[in-house]
Amino acid sequence: MSIQIDKLSKKFISYKKQPGIIGSLKSFVNRQEFVNTAVDEFTLDIQQGEFVGLLGPNGAGKTTLMKMMTGIIVPSSGHIRIVGYEPFQRKKMFRKKIALVMGQKSQLWWDVPAYDSFMLLQKYYELEFKSFKSRLDQLSELLDVTDKLHIHVRKLSLGERMKLEIMASLLHQPDVIFLDEPTIGLDVLAQQNIRKFLKEYQKEHNTTIVLTSHYMADVQELCSRIVLILGGKKSFDGPIEKFESLLGKEKFVHFEFSESVNPHKDFTFFDQFDPSWSNDFSQVDLRIPETDLRSATIKILQDFPLINYNCEQLPVERVMKALMEKPGVISE
């Protein structure tokens, strides 16, 4: 077992502050403290080699959970073991077996080329120079940043920097990698490149990877298992396919026609798939049960002037959106 978490909780004490000078003075003298339960009785087991997506809205507790898994912060209660170690004991061997990539923070030195930071990491992780060098060459080639290694980090684009951040985290070949929004703020192409790299890397090294991301394309493409966290509690844990069909086994298909169609003429046909028509009735979104997908598509192809159609690319996104709007759906 790579990761074992049992009834893990984390409570933070925060305080409320009213706006303005009066509010500031009041809170300076008398603070209205309250306990915020960021993670609540969270239990999770992850096997070696799994690629798990940790999903949830902002403030759900994903990052707090990751920081507890890496030993950065101490849990309020519960137990946690990562590759056989208790993270907060912060044993040297434990820290050599894990890596954390945070999309919004950097471990590279800002005013020197990334190569200097990598050299420092070589010493931190006591890597033999020859193997370090060959690994550096291999990773920089895979991520296509060979020509960026000797440029000051502050002069690089966000995408280039993120690739180098990922490299920095992989140099010591960790057993478990925690990726906290690694593609945040990147353009579509950079996101795709990083996803492609992570997919190949995980396949080759059988590394356990836990990913949080607000880009559902990351999750859809990379993760075989999804863990949903809502209000600090685990709300779902299972294969991505099961998550996608959480709101029913249906496909969302978009159809475009060369001319307006008369929906009333085929009222019974379209109406059974919860249609959403464009104003001129030349486009429609349908929610078709998986079992009816083939027959419905054939009928539309034969009976209507179809020019284009496509299936929804990110069913995970739709499910997430529905769950964020109505969290109760999951227990209904």
Binding site: F12, T63, K67, T70, G71, I72, I73, V74, R90, K92, M93, R95, K96, I98, A99, L100, M102, G103, Q104, K105, S106, Q107, W109, D111, V112, P113, D116, S117, M119, L120, Q122, K123, Y124, Y125, E126, H152, D180, E181
Partner: protein, 260 residues
Amino acid sequence: MKHYLQVYFECVRTCFSEVTSFRVHFVLCMVMDIVFYATSFASAIFIFDHVEVIGEWNKNQFLFFVAFMLAIDQIHMTFVSENFWRFSEDVRTGHLDYTLLKPLGAVFTCFFRRMRPSTLFNFIFVWGALIHFGILNNLSVISWFLLPFAILVSLYLLVMVEILLVISSFWIVEGYGINFLRMQFQQLSRWPDFIYKFYLRKVFTLVVPILVVGSAPVKFLFDQNKIGIFALLFLFAVLYTFLVKVFWKFGLKHYSSASS
């Protein structure tokens, strides 16, 4: 130990790489510190233009003390100072997260990873002054032999007191105030203990031992019979190492990082 040294030398190398990117800043830092050293000596000389002795010391003894404290300051500025400012900022912004993940003692990675190479070569100035005033004070052979050692132990105690202070950043989060307090303590230690009134002297000798940092070793270097006060330096060095260990663990438990 080998691991720590390897990392440290690599940190030094990286800091050199970093600081040489900004040439004017490099030179300014160097000049700024030399000006500070010069004004420290000038202030003491100015006072002795008007008085014969201060407390129990004459002009040459006092200037040796000033040089001793500046030698500590020079090493402090070069190898440690930068880290205190970074630490408070890292606690507030959550950048400490990555530092805590490094497979080395966290106190080391927090307080000894950054250096300021620009002030490294100023050692010629302060050590020149220290040797000059040492000769004027007819230091004994044993005092010359103990001098570098005394400077290192004094520096160690000063750094431990400062680390203990800035650990409070884990609770108070915004560390500017603490860093200024730390600097005020440094300022207090740059004067010999006998200029302070009784209670103030007791507090800054026995509670927050910043007056031990300079006064204890210099008194011992002048007079080897005062071994008791020199022993106090070691005693506090050990005590504060223990306190740093205990409070560091408490601090880490309290660290809540910053939101992503």
